[in-house]
Amino acid sequence: MRRIALVARHEVIETVRSRTYWIGLVITPVMFAIGLFVPSFLQRSFTPDRPVAIVDLSGNLAQPLREQIERRFARDRMATLYAHVRGFAKPDLRDAQGGLDPARVPLEFLRRSGDITDPDVDAFLAQGGVEAALDRARPLLRADAPPPTFDPQPFSLVDPPADLAAALRAGTGAELVRAYLSGERPLPPAAGAAGAAGSAGADQAGEGRTLYGVLVLPAGVGLVPAGEPVALGLGDGSRTAQLWTDAAPDEAVSDAVEGALARVLRRQALAAEASPELARRLAGLVTPFDTRLTSKADGASVTSRDVLEKNMPRVLSIALCFFLLGNLVILMTNTMEEKSNRIIEVLMSSITAQEMMTGKLLGASMVALLGVMFNVGTLMGVFFLASDGGFASFAQDLLSVLFGSPILLALLFYFIVGYFLFAGLFIAIGGLCETSKDVQSLSLPLQYFLILLPILIWTVANEPNGVAARVLSYIPYTSPIMMMARINADPGWFDLVATAVLQLVGIAATLWLSGRVFRAGALRTGKPPKLGELWGALRGQA
């Protein structure tokens, strides 16, 4: 036992002392943080200049379309502002679940993006836009609340250059469109200030800029019955709105334009066939809809926290697979290096192969566990910091799920169990090989298994207590990952205990068999053994 402890201690100290270990440890949260924050930082810091010109040949769509796009941009700013208020509201304005208390906070600030209608936007703009809303929100915010950060608009609207508009009206503008979009012809100074002065969507100066897109609205553009050739993108284009760009457009631009145009056309059709009043009234209506869980005693609605609570184990089961794979590959490579360095033989003159393997496993598992705890801790730190920032409510829900359910405990338990289940196999492969090439080819099936397992688990975990999920829970090598994915779906005590027992039996059997293979392979030189020799080793003929 003393020697096992010594080998384990050596494994821990030597790994933790190495620079590569710390680089590997820090890289995961760093990459996560980079993935989380850098894109939005870049988006905010380096706003692309994307002027889009509307050439309206129908004569009655340009202005309502501009207004609708303005609404779209304003709605995004409203949603950001309301999320900011939810994240930085004073504590005394919150209810027991941490949300805003409707009794103490104006309902305006409880809205989310999907709740904001066109009349809401119009009212918001009429009341003075963001500045006025911030004045209204200020009494609700904590003293240390930072100013809200708004995402930049994906594009801006500019008036079309006169020559371009004239050419398109004459049906000869294709060459000119190409010249403007490629930058061959820059926008003239006159091409700016589209829409109302001072509006957020309008651009104030056009000189020297390159046009990003040209939206051509032909005279015949309008709603068509679904299934007509023109609705399927066929026809001569005389009834189809066309967004011209130099390269494939950003979806944020095309979606915003298409969505705004559809709203405008529907409203115009409704106003023409019913009444403008009805069209205006319908634009301000939403459908109250709620999903409720029987598991909630008070019959409360499903919240974003509930959705997180359901999905988080699935996400973590995937993370578990990758945690396992990363750490097990390190263990296998280290073992291979010890074998090719001939250290194993020195060790085997002092301790048995089984003791050495156990010591290495214990040490490596401690190192791996340390790494997982460090990563989980750092990620939680990132969420904790974020809980006071831009995506506050998501981060708060996430932390609430992590601390309010057995999820973290399960992650640690299933990591340890999963590690020992697979570690014997990986260490045996490391003990059989002397070169990275041999290690790679021999471990490939196992590595593929751990890479493909999350895909299987993700699909099956849609029904966490279904037949497939339960079957996978009772197969030792899929059990830890499957049970991790099921942990918040109330799998029942029987499944929890029975699968844990099976996993432990699986560990014992795997370690016993891999111990034999390890002993046979450790002193072998040259190529890894053939299947027949492995079979002999398993039967104890080493």
Binding site: R3, I344, E345, M348, S350, L523
Partner: protein, 324 residues
């Protein structure tokens, strides 16, 4: 340093005057018989040489002796125990293929291996520093081994295997890869161990080391024992040779059994003949002088261990090379 051999012998499971005993050891790898009926015994305090060409089975026998490998047949006993692992703290082992943790410092490496052999941490560290100082490595004691030359790393490994002051030291091809200076250092270390009452078993295929160091040797060829005894006994297996250099013709020489010309230069020819055990050198010299042979050289050549080795296992080595 007190010698503990007597205590070992009496407290062991098997009362014997040998520290290490192998009897009828056999080991097969598939159809290949690597070791076939090897028996040997090593006495306390002696330096025992394990001699044989490459692939003769020396390493396999050593691994079996250390309980790293299991024999298919035969009996073994080390320090009174059937398994060397149960008395592993009293054995030091240097494998043929050297290996060290390259990121470790020599102090930490020696300390770690000594601790695996049962030493307390503080004592092991103190001992590591003492050994490094004694063998000229104190200046690099805290530098990573990956910065060392091969010879320095090998020295560290040898020190790792003796740091816990073992009663039996087993060295598998300890001289391979060492330069002549470090070979000399290692020879001195082995002699120092013997002087301290330790038992040393080492394998080699370089006979000069065995000749200078060993009290007794075993010669193995193709897994079988070809010789077991003292170095003198080994030498005695071959007859002495007489070398004559003369400018006379062969016909002028007295009739000597197996006389053959081995070299010729500047009008002088060199002849060699085997000397029978009872044959008198003085009598041959007298016969030559009486026959008027003009001798410019007259030398009696004693057989070396190398000669014995070539005679006993040279053919095995050649066959092994052909098979490979």
């Amino acid at each position: 340093m007190p010698i503990k051999n007597q205590a070992i012998i009496t407290r062991g499971a098997c009362v014997t005057d040998h520290l290490v005993e192998l009897e009828g050891i056999e080991k097969r790898y598939g159809r290949f018989k690597a070791v076939n009926g090897v028996s040997m015994a090593v006495k306390p305090g002696e330096i025992f040489g394990f001699l044989g060409p490459n692939g003769a089975g020396k390493t396999t026998v050593i691994r079996i002796l250390l309980d790293i490998l299991q024999p298919d047949r035969g009996r073994r006993q080390v320090l009174g125990a059937e398994s060397a692992l149960s008395v592993g703290d009293r054995i030091g082992y240097l494998p043929e293929e050297r290996g060290l943790y390259k990121a470790m410092t020599p102090v930490n490496a020696i300390t770690y291996f000594a601790r695996l052999k049962g030493m307390k941490a503080a004592h092991a560290k103190e001992r590591a520093r003492e050994l490094l100082e004694r063998y000229g490595l104190s200046a690099v004691a805290d530098k990573p081994i990956k910065t060392f030359s091969k010879g320095m790393a090998q020295k560290v490994q040898v020190l790792s295997c003796v740091a816990h002051d073992p009663e039996v030291v087993i060295l598998d091809e300890p001289f391979s890869g060492l330069d002549p200076v470090n070979q000399q250092v290692l020879e001195e270390l082995i002699c120092a161990l013997r002087d301290a009452g330790r038992t040393v078993i080492f394998s080699t295929h370089v006979m000069q080391h065995a000749e200078r160091l060993c009290d007794r040797v075993i010669m193995i060829g193709r897994g079988e024992t070809r010789f077991l005894g003292t170095v003198d006994e080994a030498r005695a297996r071959l007859p002495r040779r007489l070398r004559l250099t003369t400018d006379s013709t062969a016909s002028a020489l007295p009739a000597l059994p197996g006389l053959e010309k081995v070299a010729e230069a500047d009008g002088h020819a060199t002849y060699e003949t085997r000397l029978a055990a009872q044959q008198s050198v003085q009598q041959i010299l007298k016969q030559c002088l009486d026959s008027g042979v003009d001798l410019s050289g007259f030398t009696v050549i004693e057989p070396t261990l190398h000669d014995v080795f070539v005679d006993l296992v040279g053919e095995d080595a050649r066959q092994a090379r052909t098979a490979a």
